[in-house]
């Protein structure tokens, strides 16, 4: 059933390539239909825990390649939410890509990507996971950079890092396979635990390989540079997919493989070093997550491009979730999963609204925008709710998950981690509010006078996402109850939660009450706004230069737009401290390789004599090596 639906989707993708450019919208409607049916299929699998499918492929040597799928609570939750979100994004894309000049291959690859996405979540063993992981990496290359020279440079970071990570994971998988002779996840975890008990350095090496694979994909330190490049240069509607869904695979892998392993170690191990009741390794990874979130926050504050800003915000949120997951308490894991799903929703909303802005204005730099709230109210509202959720302000869903993360950090006695998360959360508020203000509030540049709201079909996904944010905010149990069944399936203690109320060791929150309080105060403020003094519309120049022509002072319009260099004073505070530039590091590495390559190339096209010379020299070297060995 699962595989046939995949084949059906792939076949549809292939057939759609033959649709003519004039009928682009048919192609996208087809994709939406396929995605809808896939969503429905996954929905019907709810509760069929343990349902599995297996397909034998080639067996080369001793390795039997086969595809194994299995439905577990974890895989169901992730696949259902991600597919549903991609369905809503695809509705947006129908309109965006209906023009003749838009790339027709994006949709094709995107549908394959959606299939890979479901397959990654449903895969029952490590080999299947790796197969679809790699396929996803390869295919996403073409969607991020569908033949744009600029986006090619951006996608490089993503691609190289992902590939290196995937290969590291491959080595890890096969090191384990050579010990356990199976790809089954549970038995491999048990095998790795045995290796840990034998205290062999191999165990740490294998774990490190898996960590590399997962962390490169999820852009944790020190691989945090790619989202800013890739998300900002990807097609606008795909950015939301990339940021909302694809960046989560690493965390999914961690929950699938690393968390059970560490839990196992913390419960049964006699030999491994512990710190704060969790294995040292896990503790270090939690710190990596926290540091990532802080670093990403600072970088987001600096950026002037709205998509870039949202990308850095994604990295920061991934950092929270990673920290929360790796402290290994039930509350932490539940909070992590909850935050992953919430982040998927609100980040999709943010990116979709940014895409809507760009669809109408073709502008990405924040200081060239402004005052769009009146022109595009629905988009504005989506963005507003999105950043409220992202900043963790009640009563939306981001609040609920952040609350759980703080609670788990505090109850697990990780004060420093909690401080760092608090810090970056505050920072998130700084940059997100700036984005809201620069893009939607303030003065409307005159060139955007005739900007309209996006078509209705593009608004539908925004409505859906707003609704989701509010509903999950009020009833966190809708997600947390399935999360509880995940915890149960992972043999962890369940958390205490009802549809409306969350309980932690320290306190409890009743979400509807919080919502009512906030809704009441908002209504109060709105009434005040209505009965207050009537407003008068003032021209931009009147407001800023008292009616004088700025050209007399040698100024341009951009220079007195407040959004340009918004946080410059804040950045000056850090001027004294030395900076490390990760991107520069990667770039210098690339330059080194290129220099070596040119050297080799030059050697290859030099004269025949040197060819003979090196030929003989290497034979002599082999002889000398032989003399030394024997």
């Amino acid at each position: 059933m699962i595989l046939y639906s995949f084949l059906f989707a792939l076949l549809t993708a292939l057939l759609s390539l033959f649709i003519r450019r004039e009928y682009n919208y048919i192609r996208w409607i087809l994709y939406s239909a396929v995605l809808a049916s896939l969503t429905f299929l996954i929905y019907t699998m709810n509760g069929l825990w343990g349902y599995s499918e297996s397909f034998k492929l080639l067996s080369v040597g001793s390795v039997d390649f086969s595809l194994n799928f299995k439905v577990t609570p974890l895989s169901w939750l992730f696949s259902f939410f991600t597919t549903g979100l991609s369905l809503s994004i695809s509705l947006f894309s129908i309109v965006k890509n209906r023009h003749e000049e838009s790339e027709r291959s994006i949709g094709f690859f995107w549908l394959i990507l959606s299939v890979c996405n479901i397959a990654i979540f449903l895969s029952a063993d490590l080999l299947t996971l790796f197969i679809f992981w790699e396929a996803m990496t390869f295919v996403s290359f073409f969607v991020i950079s569908p033949g744009w020279t600029k986006s090619f440079k951006a996608v490089n970071y993503y691609f190289i890092l992902s590939i290196l990570g995937a290969f590291a994971m491959l080595v890890g998988i096969f090191f384990l396979y050579s010990k356990s002779a199976t790809f089954n996840i549970e038995s491999n975890i048990a095998q790795l635990f045995v290796l840990y008990e034998l205290n062999s350095p191999q165990a740490i090496f294998i774990t490190l390989m898996f960590v590399l694979g997962f962390f490169t994909k999820s852009a944790l330190m020190p691989f945090h540079i790619w989202p800013a490049e890739a998300h900002s240069e990807a097609p606008d509607d795909f950015s939301s997919y990339l940021s909302g869904i694809m960046i989560k695979y690493g965390l999914y892998g961690s929950i699938l493989f690393l968390v059970p392993l560490f839990v196992f170690i913390s419960k049964f191990s006699q030999t491994q070093p512990m710190s704060n009741h969790i294995p040292l390794f896990s503790h270090i990874l939690a710190w990596v997550g926290a540091i990532t979130s802080v670093v990403a926050t600072f970088l987001a504050v600096k950026s002037n491009d709205m998509k870039r800003l949202a990308a850095w915000s994604t990295v920061g949120n991934i950092g929270y979730a990673a920290t929360s997951i790796f402290i290994l308490s039930s509350m932490g894991v539940a909070g992590g999963i909850f935050h992953i799903i919430n982040h998927a929703i609100f980040k999709t909303a943010i990116f979709l609204s940014l895409a809507a802005v760009k669809y109408r204005t073709h502008e990405r730099e924040m200081h060239r925008l402004g005052g769009l709230a009146y022109k595009m109210p629905v988009t504005f509202l989506t963005f507003l709710l999105g950043i409220i959720a992202a900043a963790g302000i009640p009563p939306l869903n981001g609040y609920a998950s952040k609350w759980m993360i703080y609670q788990s950090l505090l109850s697990g006695r990780f004060p420093f981690l909690a401080t760092m998360i608090f810090l970056s959360s505050t920072g998130a508020f700084m940059y997100l509010f700036r984005a809201l203000h620069s893009v939607f509030l303030g003065q409307l540049p005159s060139k955007f006078d005739d900007v309209k709201e996006v078509p209705f079909l593009m608004q539908i996904p925004m409505y859906i996402l707003m609704l989701l944010m509010v509903i999950i905010g009020i009833f966190p149990g809708t997600v947390l109850l399935p999360v509880n069944s995940i915890l149960k399936s992972m043999n962890m203690e369940e958390i205490k939660v009802t549809y409306t109320t969350m309980y932690s060791m320290l306190s409890s929150v009743d979400a509807p009450i919080v919502f009512l309080v906030f809704a009441g105060s908002f209504a109060f403020a709105f009434i005040l706004y209505l009965i207050g003094k009537p407003r008068r519309h003032v021209e931009l120049l009147d407001n800023y230069t008292a009616g004088q022509d700025p050209k007399e002072f040698g100024l341009t319009r951009e220079m007195y737009h407040f959004a340009l260099k918004f946080y410059e004073p804040f950045e000056h505070m850090f001027d004294k401290y030395p900076r490390t530039n990760t991107k520069e590091f990667y770039d210098s590495f690339e330059r080194k390789i290129n220099e070596t390559g040119s050297f080799i190339k030059k050697f290859y096209s030099s004269s025949p004599r040197s060819a003979v010379y090196i030929f003989t020299l290497s034979i002599v070297l082999i002889i000398i090596y032989g003399w030394l060995v024997w």
Partner: protein, 274 residues
């Protein structure tokens, strides 16, 4: 390259050559255990060529088949019926010249490959020299051309003798062909009016090649083995003996002769289809 680095190149080349030389010489003065190359060869007892010399390969291989599982001592216990010059008739291979019997009977397939190498390299030369200008012809002297006209028939005759008599005396298709080619070389180098038609030579050459392969395939048809000797062998040492080998050697001689002439001509004047 600058003068200094050039000298370093020479110096390192000397070192490389010295190391390689020491390595390559060491097996000849090896005193370790195991089989090694003998400083003085005494006999051919443990070599396959002993049976080529005795012309009893079929017996030897039957013997090996009989004493299965004991392969090592098997070679030495062959019942020996060696052939005698001018007495043995219908030996398993005809020529009195043992090298010829190897070249054209025991290891005839190598020779086919050898022909092919020559053919393909002359083909390569032709391809490379296509459309290349001819060498300037020097003013020919009377003595040269007259001497050549006198010499060439003799050279040709010697060549033909060498390959026709290859089964009895030293020589054979390759040296014979080379001698013939030298004759043609002399012809077109000395006398400018000699009309050298490459196409004729090529036709003769490829026809000879075709016949050789066809004869080999005929062996496959008649005797169930490629290159099998399906003509009578006659008495060892007679002029009229081992007919197939004489035929094939003559064909090889014709082929190599015309081939090398064409190759030399190509180098001399460039390839033209005339």
């Amino acid at each position: 390259m600058r003068e200094t680095s050039f000298n370093t190149g020479k110096f390192f080349a000397l070192i490389i050559v010295a190391v390689l030389g020491i390595f390559m010489i060491s097996p000849f003065f090896d005193t370790g255990s195991g089989k090694k190359i003998s400083p003085r060869l005494e006999n051919l007892k443990d070599r396959v060529s002993l049976h080529y010399g005795l012309k009893n390969v079929n017996d030897a291989s039957k013997n090996i088949e009989e004493c299965q599982g004991d392969y090592y001592t098997c070679r030495e216990g062959v019942k020996c019926n060696n052939v005698i010059y001018k007495e043995t008739a219908d030996a398993e291979t005809g020529p009195a010249n043992l090298v010829t019997s190897i070249v054209l009977d025991y290891r005839a397939f190598d020779t086919l490959g050898e022909i092919t190498v020559l053919f393909i390299s002359i083909l390569g030369v032709a391809l490379l020299m296509t459309g290349f200008p001819a060498l300037p012809v020097k003013n020919e002297s009377m003595i040269q051309s007259a001497g050549a006209k006198f010499l060439v028939p003799i050279i040709m005759l010697v060549g033909i003798y060498i390959f026709l008599h290859g089964h009895l005396t030293p020589g054979g298709g390759f040296p014979g062909g080379a001698v013939i080619a030298t004759g043609f070389l002399l012809m077109f180098m000395t006398s400018g009016d000699y009309n050298f038609r490459s196409r004729r030579f090529k036709t003769v050459e490829t026809a000879a090649g075709t016949i050789i392969v066809a004869l080999a395939i005929a062996g496959l048809i008649f005797k169930d083995s490629f290159f099998a000797n399906f003509l009578p062998n006659g008495r060892l040492g007679d002029l009229f003996s081992s007919f197939l080998i004489v035929i094939i050697y003559s064909l090889i001689g014709i082929k190599v002769g015309s081939e090398l002439s064409v190759g030399l001509r190509n180098l001399y004047t460039g390839e033209k289809d005339d």
